[in-house]
Symmetry: C2
Subunit: 324 residues, 2 copies
DNA sequence: CTGAAAGCGCTTACAG
DNA sequence: CTGAAAGCGCTTACAG
């Protein structure tokens, strides 16, 4: 059996109160007593039970993190950054992969509430379906706006996408197409699309948009795009993986990049930069997103009066490679 | 304040004992009482506090997961698979990214012990440095052998690597080189390397090995490899990212793949298959690794007598693309 | 079928 | 400087 504070008290010949005070550096303790307690702790290999502490304090120093899938490069990195930053602030992370399934999300929410997490960071689609249990739980969302009361942390997708379109335009592209996943799960999709359309409109160019939902459909849609737009000379993609697929198809068709066609991706995760360093992409500030989300969640948890704006739109940066 | 079992008892006009029995479906309860309790629960929006339950049962249904970094595609996927499978078995995951730093590892181990996790899944380098606290904690490691008592789950790296070498040989390669990260952190590196050497020896071919440790060094080493071995016609890489770098450099030098040079990577994660579908690679059965690790951990946690072998070497499969 | 009591491992007023 | 007591929110023998 694991030793408890009682065992320590017995061995050190003091009360549990005293042991607790030594442990928490609280009140006055004679040097001798303190020393005795510490030797007992060491001899017994005693480690305080955080469950009991949390129960008393009504604070677990644990945060629930909901993401769709850590296999996805963006979320894998985001999870890393959030967990690492939390650890530096003495918070633990309970990780939940929701796959954007509404039933999983609400089950996880219930589990996390039951686990008495101090707060929630959510970057998952159906965030608006909060159980009653979460009414008073501090929450911050990433990329998914829920309500005025819940802080939102997000890349400035509109501005980032506008930069992409403007880069293509400035390089002389005349026929720029936007290819995207179907904007069902991601609120950011709408922003990207709007930015593309606005950017085109300003230059009095016609918007051409292709959207797909599944894997096979993606390939078909890309082929269709090339078939139907032989004059295309610029493609802005909603993510790097799509951009890679576009580039592959273009090469297959003998279209030279960046001479005849310029391509820009989106996200700029570490993996895609390593695997496709040549890709020009709009990079999300993942580390900054993580830190901002954690900080503003902790502000709510610590009950700091929050008159700050509760939306953060973080700057995106174009990483220019060789595809533009 | 969150309602407690006491509030429910008060509202339902029964004792907390009775509420608890309703909650846990234990003992006999009259239909009427049960109904009353449920309406009280619903009206109050009551959710049991798992902290208190865990404290009593000495069981948290929580597992600590230590990986180097979820940004890495392999660990991002592994984390997803482990967490998802655990969730289906009603276990939570506390995630820790160790970056293979020994000090972080041992700090996380202490935190997890304090959190009373029921067990640990470790896939991190210094696993042999267990604190005293973990002496009796059920542990399973992935890819890092610690001792006979601790189950190890691993891909069959030796056999997988041998397959790779044999594939290159069977395709007629005469000068096969092995490029790898410096085998400091990964025990698997040694196995891969041994398999390469054995495979070469069997065909009476000379082994040529290049190893690097950092990012810049990788690039230099790859260049050196080509400079020093103009006759190279096969390269087996310790991971897909290295393989991609090799391919990029080969193309730059005008070496045609797979005609003049065949390249095989290692890991076969989802991202690299999406971003570089043409790469031939030795794929790790990530889903199987996750399930095996979780299952054998739960066996230990559930105290099932374990006369089973405590090492699992899971089969790897070559995914043949267009680089061989 | 139901409740009072003790206890899981801690912490903190309170009293001395 | 130190300890006895109550309590965090549960559960489970035990008794009726």
């Amino acid at each position: 059996m694991k030793p408890t504070i009682r065992d320590v008290a017995r061995v050190a010949g003091v009360s549990t109160t005293t042991v607790s005070r030594v442990l928490n550096n609280r009140g006055y303790i004679s040097k001798e007593t303190r020393a005795n307690v510490y030797t007992a702790i060491n001899n017994l290999n005693y480690l305080p039970n955080d469950l009991a502490r949390s129960l008393f304090h009504k604070k677990t120093n644990t945060i629930g993190l909901l993401v769709p899938n850590t296999s996805d490069a963006f979320f894998g990195e985001l999870t890393f950054e959030i967990q690492s930053f939390c650890a530096s602030l003495d918070y633990k992370i309970i990780l939940c992969n929701t796959l954007n399934h509404i039933d999983k999300e609400s089950k996880y929410l219930e589990i996390l509430s039951g686990s008495q997490v101090d707060g929630l960071i959510m970057s998952t689609s159906n965030s608006n379906i909060l159980n009653n249990y979460e009414q008073n739980l501090p929450i911050v969302t990433i990329d998914h706006y829920i309500s005025k009361k819940i802080p939102l942390v997000s890349s400035d997708h509109y501005s980032g996408s506008l930069q992409a379109v403007e880069l293509l335009l400035s390089k002389g592209c005349q026929h720029i197409i936007y290819v995207s996943t179907f904007p069902a799960f991601e609120q950011s999709s709408t922003l990207k699309r709007n930015a593309y359309e606005d950017g085109m409109k300003r230059q009095e160019k016609r918007s051409i948009i292709y959207e797909y939902s599944g894997y096979e459909e993606k390939y078909k849609v890309i082929c269709k795009l090339f078939d139907e737009n032989t004059e295309v000379d610029g493609i802005f993609c909603s993510d790097d993986i799509t951009a890679t697929a576009v580039i592959t198809e273009a090469k297959k068709r003998g279209i030279s990049i960046p001479n005849h066609l310029k391509v820009i991706g989106y996200n700029g995760t570490g993996v895609s930069q390593i695997l496709c360093p040549e890709l020009t992409t709009v990079q999300q500030p993942i580390n900054l997103i993580a830190k901002t989300a954690v900080k503003s969640l902790l502000e709510v948890i610590d009950g700091e009066i929050n008159t700050n704006p509760t939306k953060f739109y973080l700057p995106m940066k174009i990483m220019e490679g060789k595809t533009t």
